[in-house]
Symmetry: C2
Subunit: 153 residues, 2 copies
Amino acid sequence: MKDVNGQILKILHEHNLKVTPQRKGILNYLMTHHNHPTVEMIRSNIVKDMSNLGTATVYNTLNTLVELGLVIEIQNGDGSTHYDYFAHPHFHMICTNCGKIDDVSFDGYMGEEKLLRENAEKETGYLTSKSHLEIYGICPNCQKKLRLNLINK
Amino acid sequence: MKDVNGQILKILHEHNLKVTPQRKGILNYLMTHHNHPTVEMIRSNIVKDMSNLGTATVYNTLNTLVELGLVIEIQNGDGSTHYDYFAHPHFHMICTNCGKIDDVSFDGYMGEEKLLRENAEKETGYLTSKSHLEIYGICPNCQKKLRLNLINK
DNA sequence: ATTTAAACGATAATCATTTTTAATTGGTTA
DNA sequence: TAACCAATTAAAAATGATTATCGTTTAAAT
């Protein structure tokens, strides 16, 4: 098990961010949950422990973390932005039926990602830093449900 | 050169969509422009030719086209959604400095995309249909500007 | 030509996100 | 330790994008 609190302090210090209960709470939530929360999910969860936490603060903190590359934004089509602590390179599978977002990585993904970026740089002259890949489909659970629906007709 | 109007009629008929001037206008705009317009860009451009066009109609039409897989949505971080007629598989380079979105494809990209999807299916049990790849970086133009800024300090 | 379901568009409503503003606080320095 | 100050916070208001409503219009099937 890891010293999450120590990591959080290190992250904040490394980036010259003041250590506040709000930031610690938000980072802790992101690092210890592997869901893909919205702003409201984060806020309502933290409010339970902390006396109060403003919506704008959650937005500010998340935007800062996104700029630092520690957190990324994901859209699953429900209208609000979801966030993901991006410790390890991975991509997202998004179920077009239920909106679920899964993190996926496999051996060699980092290599493939790097190759794509290099090809793209050659092609366009961009200086690239990161990429987001989203693959859309039907999750196993929904496949089951959809099959049942067919039968029940 | 291609018979865009014929293509549009074919698309609408194939999907049992009524042929209306609004839909023809919106599809025509998307197919003949290679920018990545927002709803407002599309609307204001078409209003010049057509007596009128409601915002809701643009949204409705675009949502329909997205569901059909003919058009995709892209977020570049400026708050509004950009649209792209997705005739041929490609990915997007997004400049983190100016927000520009470039379409890119290179020989072999389709193969790499297919491979990624197959790996992902094996790993997760999803049944996949498509993917979106976004690569972030600094475009050549902004690289120049940023270099100049450095010198002028 | 008539009919009908689909599509349209003006407006209002909603929802996510940002800005504003004023008060508070972390962390540095004396 | 005290005091300061810039950074941070949070409530409320503002903004901007998107969706819902609903009366009117229109495409296209009969």
